[in-house]
Symmetry: D2
Subunit: 365 residues, 4 copies
């Protein structure tokens, strides 16, 4: 490496551009509102962080697109996903800064911004699409909210990303390639089924004998248990499983789901530690966006009540409705249903264990 | 003051009691589960904080019970409420500690705890009752969840607190005593109405002319605006207002609500700074509990899926449903609807201003 | 207001500028380092927040520059300072994002950035100067670190701000204008002195009789107490006070300091609630920057060890040394020394109380 | 499992004990200070969390005491350490609750508590001892502060723990057992040395040619670089290394340190992912306690100024001095010095790589 031209902090960060990109609309209308600067700057930091999140997710997508993911890349994938969740925590916490703005002050410039709206954030929709949210996963009302608002050119960029393979799809493919849905000479899923049955019988006893559970609660709980039983049955029956895929109640294929369950159960084996961490990080990414949407909806309602926002509509009801939606990895989040107590997990035959382990021969005496 | 007997840290904090109060059930059944200690200790810290919150709320209730609240007590009230919200932030953040427990590890001791449940936290219900949640505000399902589970003696303690005057009721009385619902020789509420009309007309223009708002969204928004108009009309019409009180859509009396709106609008005057901060802190107390319930529900679902918890029921759906409920000060949270841009707030006559101000004669040159 | 041209989110926020301002140096040298993007973006968000902090501080300076600060402006000043501390909390928390970058990854592009350095952040130095840090307050080593690194044009901008009146100076003037250093017909400071003496005598008893305090600790503590006594004596003696001002051990004038002590003691009176909150917020601003510098120094050491950073020097020792420095309001932070137990605070005569109070005649029955 | 006796929430958590363990001293002296309850309760939560931390650390110590640590236990160790750091974050954040207490209110009951002091927390000292802080690592002043204050029985318990093997010692033994200090047929440390030399030469060029680095800074930096060079030389020379061990400048043995460096460099290999995470978590545990001590010292100074605390001494100077001390894993924190850019890390021969990898034969097509 040769010595290069000296770099100056402000030039390197292109601060003349960055710090001259705040032009309050209220000032243009002759009446600068003090708080509009905050409104602009906080949104700009959000967009910068979205760019960083896209940078990480795109690199994860690229690595996962390899026909064979090298084992040393798994920790790279996980580190980058953990960076995303660290950023998301700041996105959530930043809402406290926005909450220092009062209704009275926001109303001073709201009208000048119509119909600009956070729904027009192209980058946020690219993040969703990269994770795995496709147009068919969106509610009708959401499509209306969104699509008419994006500029033609932005709609095109979004469509391109939606047409690319998503991290969800790559994850599914990776999980499906794993050899955990059946084993030669060992009926793992039979043993697992047996453990599940034992657990559910125990649950039945617990509900039935609970002295503080009266009707109609008790019947409700027994019905609930019956449904949990059905859910387990579905997991292991390819045909029944298909009936959940069709209407979109579940997105992950059966084979991928079985691998995920296996990884969750045997996560302590060296071979599964990093795969488990990756699954867990993806659930975390989803969950953090959910928390962000929720906190955001509450903040909007607190500042606006039932008033319209800059987008010209009173979005608070809609905002709350999306809290639970647009989660690419909801199936993994719900996977807890399929887990059983540690002590009931079937013991693995030595030849499988060996494959999941690392023989630290020379590392230990 | 005389010199007292030396105090020893461990005795002062009664640590022998505190640190010997963890008896895992799993150990009693011959199979100590490592994570049960965490489960016990985190709940004990929650209960200690609830005790502290009750200590603060009870003192606030006591001060507000005076026939005349001295002006120097207002900042005491507010400091104590701000302490409550600071504690609540930790209650929310602590959920991250609980989330370090996995489904597999929780299932190891869950069965031993049935039917104990967080719904049996007497202190949490005392907090709600002290703030203003009375039995009639609870959903039918919630009463079933709760009441059968509390011990007879705990039910009695709860009933006593529910029968006492709550902070909500004291706040309402205090706001009602204020002289803001009408002024001699100044039609404030007429001037306010006029400003509201101007604002709503502007909103009508904005929605009508919004180029990116298509049908059926536009009609929805116009209907929404019509409702906001009705809400404003209700505020100023005693008869209409009563129609909201009856079915419980609103809890605060009209007179109290008008005072609250006045305080929000003129909060910068010295006389209203502390009253505003108190209203704001109460909204914050409500909001933080809401966030806590939400994060808690998500955490339970992530650990349990659709499985039953220690209470013997799968509470996640119910937990989510309460997120928006049990807010004593919801009317204040929704008050943003009644606010208008700072520049449209009616100017006050000098004789009113003077009463709201402090004449710092001798403090300034 | 007329209906204006529709505003588009991306145009309003000038996203084409903001999101195209990341040009990693490593890429220019033919070897794009994945993590350099994070390095650029996190610094850009820091600079955006510094701009926002300057926006708030400049407005506070402007309001405080009025010959007479209107009472309704005090809560505006305080809200803006509280916004600054809310932003600062995010500045501290963001360090966690930087910590997701490993030494190995940082070393991949560090060399390309030499000699750019955070010490070249003009805006951060403007923040310090606006608060009250003048060149004479900086250590010799700090000046060397800084001045040679700033571009000529940036040095000029900084000098301009350093020559303007700072918030510290405006605060001092405001406190000095207050009528608390002496009262007609009431020897407040005599009464206060008396209370202090009583307290210090009690402290002497406590140290002398402490059964778990052995030599040489006991002598140390008694010497310490003697010094605290001197400090109190200094506060009330104009001549002695001057001896602290000269060498820069204290910056606030005696008259301003007495007002600050008075405000801290009687903060619950309506007239002093907002002044107290302003003092407190300024201490908080200082403290949060101190915490930020500390966390930043630890982060640098964790990533670099004793290696040189992008500025071409191993700044960690220096960074740690500044932790306690550059605090414009250190005198207020240390003011706790002059406070006494609530129950020992002298009662005020009615005519003074009345001036500090608000007569809510018509607000209460 | 048989159905057991129903468990009641309040009994399970032993709430009658926990919630009746707050006896303010001020009340005993006839003058209950409102804020003393907070003082008691916050310290009780701290002690509960210390108990939880000890529970985790003791289990980690137990696992690491095995002659051979099973690979599946590594993720258990790491999960428990990560739980500790999650708890520590709350310990830091909780300081905000303490900061809601003002000097005036604290002074109301401070005197009654003398000479109780946080230095008397037995559990905190057990945490330090379990991590690896032995009496010989403490400063003279610290020993004086501590030892005379602990009760005889508490001193005995502490001594017992100090005599047990610590996590630091177990870590050192584990790292020393690893086969990374030399390899048959591959001069890894020679290759590493070569990379280091190249890097340091580059650093020399950078400092020498830095246009914004003037004297005396430049000479200082070159001296600094020389020292870094010496440090590297020391790492690879058993004799020189010993000269650092003797005076306690470094605690980790050379063999253990080499293994740690190797793990940091090749952390992405499956065999080293979990070992790396464990090292990293231990650094994090240290760092979080350091941050806690620092925030605690600042908080004490803000509340007390130079006044004495409940322990009867003005601890703030001492508190600040310990910020950097009592770190069991300081050597790991400083390890960044020995790291080099990712691209300069020597490539490993296939037979070593294979040992560090997992052959996912059957998992991939």
């Amino acid at each position: 490496m040769k010595i290069h031209k000296p770099v100056y902090y402000g030039d390197y960060l292109q601060l003349p551009k960055i710090l001259n990109a705040q032009a309050p609309e209220s000032a243009k209308h002759g009446n600068a509102a003090h708080d509009e600067t905050l409104f602009i700057i906080i949104h700009q930091t959000y967009e910068l962080w979205f760019k960083q999140i896209l940078h990480e997710l795109n690199s994860v997508r690229e690595i996962m697109s390899k026909a064979f993911i090298p084992s040393t890349d798994l920790s790279v994938i996980n580190s980058r996903l953990e960076r995303v969740t660290t950023i998301q925590q700041i996105l959530v916490d930043q809402i406290q800064i926005m909450e220092t703005m009062t209704t009275l002050d926001f109303m001073e410039f709201r009208d000048f911004l119509v119909p600009a709206s956070g729904f027009q954030s192209l980058q946020f929709r690219l993040v969703e699409a990269t994770l795995g949210i496709k147009p068919q996963h969106r509610m009708e009302i959401e499509k209306q909210f969104f699509n008419s608002r994006l500029k033609e050119e932005d709609r095109k960029i979004l469509a391109e990303t939606e047409n690319k393979i998503s991290i969800f799809e790559l994850l599914e493919a990776w999980l499906s390639r794993m050899p955990f849905s059946e084993f030669d000479g060992f009926d793992f899923w039979g043993a697992y089924s047996h453990a599940v049955d034992t657990m559910l019988e125990m649950d039945f006893e617990i509900i039935s004998n609970n002295p503080s559970l009266f009707e109609p609660m008790k019947s409700m709980e027994l019905k609930n248990l019956e449904m949990t039983k059905q859910t387990f049955a579905t997991l292991l029956d390819a045909h029944k499983y298909e009936t959940l895929i069709q209407p979109g109640k579940i997105k992950l294929s059966q084979k991928a789901m079985l691998s995920a369950v296996f990884i969750y159960l045997y996560r302590d084996y060296p071979a599964l530690q990093m795969p488990f961490k990756i699954l867990n990080s993806l659930v975390e990414v989803d969950e953090k966006f959910t928390t962000w949407r929720y906190r955001h909806a509450i903040m909007v309602q607190r500042i606006l009540g039932t008033k319209i926002g800059t987008g010209g509509s009173s979005g608070h009801e809609y905002l709350k409705s999306t809290t639970e939606r647009n989660r690419a990895f909801l199936d993994l989040f719900n996977l807890a249903t399929f887990l059983i107590p540690k002590s009931m997990i079937p013991a693995l035959p030595v030849y499988i264990k060996d494959q999941l382990d690392i023989v630290y021969d020379s590392f230990q005496p």
